[in-house]
């Protein structure tokens, strides 16, 4: 029942306005909860996001506002401490074309929500579902090989790499001759 309403509401929102620019400020609780129910493979790598995610039109990948909110959260929740601006550090890099758990949104969502072995903490209790999805979308955008037009531009800070809308991962990868992970191609 709840899922049904969620899906319906999702469809409604999907129909309203331009996907890229529309700013969904308030995620209705039923949808939020539906979005939390991802089906993950047993090995924790990849899986399927809930139907409502598609009903909404993959808002966290294509919507500029969500992506920029994700960028905000990336610095607010201290992701930089381990991952830098995506170059990695204590934690893995997002720019080298190598995703330990795959580049799918669900995997990234799961990594943030439930944490991962070797030090990635779970943010389940620190962030809301909406926020985790926004952050996941942004993290995926950092490592994306084609600069999405919806991806955020640079911050008003010291620059450590080109902004997400310029596909830093691709630039780094092209820098060659031997990419960071020789075994990985530009389409992971």
């Amino acid at each position: 029942m709840k899922r049904m309403t969620g899906v319906l509401l999702g469809l409604a929102t999907a129909l309203a306005g331009c996907q890229r620019e529309e700013r969904q400020l308030r995620l209705d609780p039923p949808i939020a909860d539906a979005l939390d129910r991802i089906a993950l493979m047993p090995n924790g790598i990849s899986g399927a996001p809930p139907d409502v995610y598609f009903a909404l039109g993959k808002p966290y990948e294509v919507n500029a506002y969500n992506l920029s909110q994700g960028k905000r959260l990336y610095s607010w929740f201290g992701c930089k401490a381990c991952h830098g601006d995506g170059q990695g550090g204590i934690g893995p890099s997002f720019l080298d074309g190598w995703w330990y758990y795959g580049p799918e949104m669900v995997s990234i969502f799961a990594s943030i929500r439930d944490g991962r072995p070797h030090g990635m903490p779970a943010y389940r209790d620190k962030m809301t579902t909406d926020q985790i999805w926004q952050l996941a979308g942004y993290v995926q955008a950092i490592g994306s090989y084609e600069g999405k037009t919806a991806a955020p531009s640079r911050n008003d800070e010291k620059q450590t790499r080109p902004a997400e809308n310029r596909a830093p991962a691709k630039l780094l990868f092209d820098e060659g001759p031997i990419p960071v992970h020789a075994d990985q191609g530009p389409t992971p």
């Binding site: 700013r23 308030r26 620190k126 962030m127 008003d156």
Partner: protein
């Protein structure tokens, strides 16, 4: 229908007239030296300008309605020169005086001494962070959206723009000054009478520019010392079990990710410091009076109350909501 509109108009006019110099966020309701001098300047200039306007209007009305005799429509160069020079001289005199008095008034503004109370003001989307700085580190403490100042003392505000440009403006005390990222501005305010003065961000700063207010509470030195001592303390450990439960919820849920409550495990930095949130008159940057109810409403659905602000809607059970709001209200 028509009558209804008429009535509303009348009521509106009346309200306007009554409201004229009242209001707790008005340049015409001055309670500090610089605001007072600004008010005087405003009145002088407005009066002079009104006189000029009436003069021009009378000239025009006479010009339009005077009875005229037939005469060749050729301007005599003499009258013209007289006319133009007259206009020039008059204008020069008036604007010259205005320039001089505003220059003097500018110099009167913002004269700060050494022993001043200093407050670091941080403008953020869409709330105000305040950090009291004293001679020794132990004096410093943080609060948000509300400052208390001792009456009759200069207070130096160090204005820092952190995200976008905001503008600090408490009309009853002083003119506005912008908070510009990458630059540091200063503003000195002083209140001569105790009272609560409202201010508001005056530079468009995005989605919730309309709801970025602050309160300045001017009180006697003793009251101020009492208040600042209280603010320096960490939050008291909740004794009652409901409040303890509230604290638990606060720590277990995302709340602690963004907010600090000194003396607890909550050390988030991106939201306002809530150590003594219960002691503040308002929440959500001047949106509501602080009550258990308003706190609960705010926590339950911040995006409906203040759309676009950075506080997420955290799913809570009714119990959690009750206890956490009770706990926050108790943080005096």
């Amino acid at each position: 229908m028509i009558r209804a509109i008429g009535k509303t108009c009348m009521r509106a006019m009346l309200a306007a007239l009554l409201a004229d110099c009242s209001g707790w966020q008005s340049a015409l309701d001055a309670h500090g030296p610089s605001a007072v001098s600004l008010k005087q300047l405003i009145i002088v200039i407005v009066v002079v300008c009104s006189l000029v306007w009436m003069l021009v209007m009378t000239t025009m009305i006479v010009a339009l309605l005077r009875r005229r005799e037939v005469r060749p429509a050729t301007p005599s160069p003499h009258r013209m020169t007289v006319a133009v020079t007259g206009a020039v001289v008059a204008t020069v005199l008036i604007i010259g005086t205005f320039t001089v008095i505003s220059f003097l008034a500018t110099h009167a503004l913002g004269v700060a001494g050494q022993d001043d109370l200093t407050i670091r003001v941080r403008g953020l989307q869409w709330w105000w962070g305040f950090e009291y700085i004293g001679p020794n580190p132990s004096d410093r403490f943080e609060t948000a959206n509300e400052i208390h100042i001792p009456v009759g003392r200069n207070v130096r505000l160090k204005l820092e723009g952190l995200d976008v440009i905001h503008s600090f403006w408490v009309p009853s005390l002083a003119g506005k000054q912008d908070l510009v990222p990458g630059r540091s501005n200063e503003l000195t305010i002083r209140a001569d009478n105790p009272g609560v003065y409202r201010g508001q961000c005056a530079e468009f700063c995005g989605m919730q520019h309309a709801h970025m207010a602050l309160l300045v509470i001017a009180q006697s030195q003793d009251d101020f010392d009492r208040w600042s001592n209280a603010q320096r303390q960490a939050a008291r450990q909740p004794a009652e079990e409901e409040l303890a439960a509230g604290l638990q919820t606060f720590l277990a849920k995302p709340c602690a990710g963004c907010h600090t409550i000194r003396g607890t495990a909550a050390t988030g930095k991106t939201g306002p410091d809530l150590t003594h949130v219960g002691s503040r008159r308002t929440i959500a940057a001047g949106l509501f009076e602080t009550t258990r109810g308003s706190l609960a409403a705010w926590i339950a659905d911040p995006q409906t109350i203040k759309p676009g602000n950075n506080m997420p809607m955290v799913p809570l059970t009714p119990d959690e909501l009750r206890t956490v709001s009770a706990y926050l209200a108790s943080l005096k």
